[in-house]
């Protein structure tokens, strides 16, 4: 399983893996927002936590179809399905690899982009913390969506349609925690809920995703 994790990380970071793509997308979304809503510092500061959360979520979405699609094309998904490790474990490892190459860089980049959006000083730590807790759920839910659509020729658009509604609770609690942190209120409750969603997703969704892959490989 460790070998699989390393393999996925290597595939993602080397040429053609699209490692920097979601980061670049995150940057562009953040840069576009001030053009859309105007450069006033007050407005930007108020919406910054929400914008950064939505931006991170969309950038995460961008790389989801890579999780299983490439492996299915070259047949390694069949090999993984017949390998002596459970398919649920494969799914979990792949989601972890996706998080390490997408969620973690996004989390680390968010405070930097927060400077661009005039994010209040108090919010930096809360934003980073909420993204750190929430992005694993995004990767896990995303790999469930990717597992559902792995058999389809052009599943990318359908994948976003399926995954985005599932992202709503994570987004609500994540953005709420960051916003409360920015306003200096107690952000403990939404953070705990966010952690709960992540843990629940990690506990349950590998089974659902593995079931979907088995169906798709039939």
């Amino acid at each position: 399983m460790l070998a699989l994790l390393l393999r996925d990380l290597r595939l993602a970071t080397r040429a053609g893996g699209g490692f920097g793509l979601s980061l670049a997308f995150f940057l562009i979304v953040t840069v576009l927002v001030p053009f859309g809503v105007g450069p006033e510092g007050g407005t930007l500061a108020r919406i910054a936590p929400g914008i950064l959360w939505v931006g991170a979520l969309l950038s995460c979405l961008l790389s989801l179809d890579r999780i299983f699609a490439l492996d299915r094309e070259d047949g390694s998904l069949d090999l993984l399905a017949t390998a002596p490790i459970p398919l649920e474990g494969v799914v979990a490892v792949k989601a972890a690899a996706h998080w390490l190459t997408t969620g973690l860089p996004l989390t680390l980049a968010a405070p930097v982009l927060g400077v661009l959006l005039n994010l209040p000083e108090a919010a930096f730590s809360w934003l980073t913390l909420s993204l750190m807790l929430g992005t694993p759920a995004l990767s896990m839910i995303g790999s469930f969506g990717a597992a559902l659509t792995v058999g389809l020729k052009r599943g990318g658009l359908l994948l976003s349609l399926l995954v985005l509604p599932l992202y709503i609770p994570t987004l609500i609690f994540g953005a709420e925690a960051a916003k409360r942190g920015a306003e200096g209120l107690a952000a403990g409750t939404p953070l705990l809920m966010l952690a709960g969603i992540t843990l629940g997703a990690v506990a349950i969704l590998p089974f659902a995703a593995a079931a979907a892959i088995r169906v798709n490989l039939r």
Partner: protein
């Protein structure tokens, strides 16, 4: 008599062809009685005027929008556990109906909200959860359309329905946390005190029964259509083989 007998499409077609006209007739009758009673034979509300009569469409459709998803959850589970073909076809047939009910509830709500709250739309928890429910229906239907092999599609959509139910419930309570409401809480109840005066409540119960019957009739009809479409495909495939 058990539901497992109806896994046989032939048996299901026989029974449903006998049941369907009765359910349809009853649905038409109760809807006519309920709506005519509600629209023409109840007084105007002393504060809301005649807009209160939107309740006879709004409440039953909202109720069916939720119950339709619950029905799809149960039928999907039955498919996953027992490979009951008619069950999953019923879920497929119910999804567009549920989506339409959600839309009706949203639109009548907007029409009602404009004179009462002064706005067509507010990001109120109830309104938002219905919008989210609509998105779930959309995704479910899109997945059915996208997958070609019927059994694969049935499996995938069933898994999506199970996971979606969990997340839909989660969203329901997350939006409560996220924003304060404009919409009132539940007004009708079987065991608690009601907040709807009896003159309005009685026709409302009748229209609700009418919507349930209408839903059952539509699901039966659409399931029969799905079964026939499947038979047709099988016949065509056989033609091509020959």
């Amino acid at each position: 008599m058990s539901i497992w007998e109806y896994a046989n499409p032939k048996k299901f077609m026989q029974t449903s062809s006998w049941v369907l006209p009765w359910v349809t007739g009853l649905a038409v009758l109760t809807l006519l009685v309920g709506l005519v009673w509600g629209f023409f034979f109840t007084p105007d509300d002393f504060r809301q005027g005649s807009t209160v009569k939107i309740i006879y469409i709004h409440v039953p459709s909202a109720m069916m929008a939720i119950n339709c998803w619950a029905m799809m959850l149960v039928t999907s589970l039955i498919w996953l556990v027992r490979r009951h073909h008619v069950s999953v076809l019923a879920a497929k047939a119910a999804a567009p109906i549920g989506m339409t009910m959600t839309l009706i509830a949203l639109f009548t709500g907007a029409i009602w909200g404009q004179p009462m709250w002064g706005t067509w739309w507010a990001w109120d928890p109830r309104l938002t959860s219905f919008l989210i429910l609509f998105l779930f229906y959309l995704g479910y239907i899109a997945l059915w359309e996208a997958v070609e092999d019927p059994d694969t599609a049935a499996d995938l959509t069933s898994v999506l329905c199970l996971v979606g139910s969990v997340f839909a419930l989660l969203s329901r309570y997350a939006v409560l946390f996220w924003n304060q409401g404009l919409h009132q809480g539940a007004s009708l109840s079987l065991d608690k005190e009601e907040h709807v005066a009896d003159v309005f409540a009685w026709p409302l119960w009748v229209t609700m029964a009418g919507f349930v019957l209408l839903f059952v009739a539509l699901v039966l009809l659409r399931t029969r259509t799905e079964i026939r479409a499947r038979r047709l495909r099988a016949l065509e495939a056989r033609e091509r083989m020959a």
